[in-house]
């Protein structure tokens, strides 16, 4: 079977191992759980643009795999997307659409529009009928104004003035429903988003750690990574563990010296003929 190994694949999904995996499942071996971002992601429209927010916890079952992951993904300089669901799916789908938008910008010579990103995302997700498990909050400002959309794993979308997704969405939505009003200023918008994310962090077990915020206005985007750190690590042992040299029993050692890269001196004399 040399064919499958010869060339790197041309892109898209490959279903080579499906038959083998089905056989293993029938023999009683359970398929693994994937890393999810049981999450709180939010977005709202304020007077000058859009504010997006997300928590930073990535879980693998009940265990926290990453205490400070990034859930606000870059799509275009004026468009960002928060992702909830299977971590690999949100990363892959936002990267893919971001590249497609870049190619589109080169082809058209214009700034990307939020509806373009929206259509690319929804058509990809619909094609895979919900098996690509990515729930997204897409926001940005283009020549037609500020836009905020939610995209569900099956490919449906909503256009809203404020939106929340993920396992912490109910906690965050309760904050928005009570305090949102039209025509918020930038500070009020950031404050409200941070409050909504904190509601998710403290009340939802799948969300936690820090608050990331992204503010998009016409011509300017600010990504405030770790805007708030409401969960600092306070139990650090002052002495820490210190292991003396030779504490571990070693059976064998092999040391390999690495070759140093040689610098080629410029401007030397050319060799004589």
């Amino acid at each position: 079977m040399t064919g499958s190994m010869d060339l790197p694949a041309k892109g898209g999904f490959s279903f080579e191992l499906c038959r083998r995996n089905d056989m293993l499942e029938k023999k009683g071996l359970k398929l693994p759980g994937f890393r999810k971002t049981g999450t709180t992601i939010v977005g709202l429209v304020f007077q000058d643009g859009v504010v997006l927010g997300a928590d930073t916890r990535a879980t693998e079952g009940p265990i926290v795999a990453d205490k400070n992951c990034e859930k606000i993904h870059f799509m275009a300089p004026n468009i960002y997307c928060c992702g909830a669901g299977t971590a690999a799916d949100t990363e892959a789908v936002t990267d893919m659409v971001s590249s497609q938008l870049q190619l589109h910008r080169y082809a058209t010579g214009r700034e990307s529009r939020v509806v373009t990103a929206l259509t690319l995302l929804k058509s990809h997700l619909f094609r895979y009928q919900g098996h690509v498990s990515a729930a997204l909050v897409l926001g940005g400002v283009d020549c037609t104004g500020p836009h905020l959309h939610t995209v569900y794993p099956h490919g449906s979308t909503d256009t809203l003035p404020f939106a929340t997704m993920g396992s912490g969405s109910l906690a965050a939505m309760s904050v928005f429903e009570s305090k949102y009003k039209e025509g918020l200023t930038r500070e009020e918008g950031i404050q409200l988003v941070a409050e909504a994310i904190c509601a998710g962090i403290f009340n939802d077990l799948g969300s936690g750690s820090n608050v990331d915020v992204c503010v998009i206005t016409k011509g300017k985007t600010e990504y405030l990574r770790n805007h708030q750190l409401p969960n600092p690590r306070t139990y650090v042992s002052s002495k820490g563990y210190s292991f003396t040299k030779g504490q571990t029993e070693v059976l064998s050692t092999k040391i390999t010296q690495l070759k140093q890269t040689a610098e080629v001196a410029e401007g030397g004399d050319a060799m004589e003929e």
């Binding site: 490959s14 071996l29 990535a58 892959a92 504490q247 070759k259």
Partner: protein, 204 residues
């Protein structure tokens, strides 16, 4: 039983001062029976880049062969070694390609960048990257490893201290896992040399 617990594994990587360490256990088992106690889980890609593959052993070996193949093609085309960040993206893409029929492997990638800045990352079996500045863990002992590394890790450790810390973290974690252990293999990489140690552990 889960597919990840078929063979049993433990892999951990830690960042030190201008160096990194990557370690794994050495057991290969078929569910509860031990087949080998010298199984290699940490593979070299180039002098300053290593990948540890936990999970199903056959997928680990297949994935290693495919990655070495892709890296050799890259070396022929670009006439240089791959940067760790680039390699991590390559592994992520290779794993995500098999989204609906995945390789049952969780890689741990560790390397020194161009400026000898250490880089570590891990992924789940679908390729979701997790970059960390301190340590990454993977395998059946991952929960114990998280706890041990969280307490024992200190930033900016010198290579000798890093070796002791990662060995102690690995040994204490696999001692609480029936499916991993039977010795340990620890690799410390600094800009000038690579040290491989086989460490003694409980053989039960």
């Amino acid at each position: 039983m889960s597919i990840f617990e078929y063979n049993g594994s433990a892999v951990v990587a830690m960042v030190g001062k201008n160096c990194f360490a990557i370690a794994s256990d050495r057991r290969l088992g078929v569910q509860l029976q031990t087949i080998a106690t010298d199984f290699q889980r940490v593979f070299k890609i180039h002098d300053k880049l290593y990948i540890g593959l936990s999970g199903l052993a056959t997928d680990a070996q297949t994935l290693h062969q495919r990655l070495v193949f892709r890296h050799k093609l890259y070396q022929l085309r670009e006439e240089r070694d791959m940067k760790p960040q680039t390699f991590a993206s390559l592994v992520s893409a290779l794993l995500y390609e098999k989204r609906f029929g995945p390789y049952f492997c969780q890689p741990v990638i560790a390397g020194l960048g161009d400026d000898n800045e250490p880089f570590i990352c891990t992924m789940d079996c679908l390729g979701a990257k997790e970059l960390a500045k301190d340590f990454v863990v993977s395998g059946t002992s991952s929960e114990s490893l998280y706890g041990a590394c969280e307490s024992m890790y200190k930033p900016n450790m010198e290579p000798e201290e890093l070796f002791e810390t990662i060995s102690q973290a690995l040994n204490s974690s696999v001692d609480r896992d029936c499916l991993a252990g039977w010795g340990g293999y620890v690799l410390i990489v600094t800009p000038t040399e690579v040290k491989e140690h086989v460490i003694k552990g409980r053989m039960d």
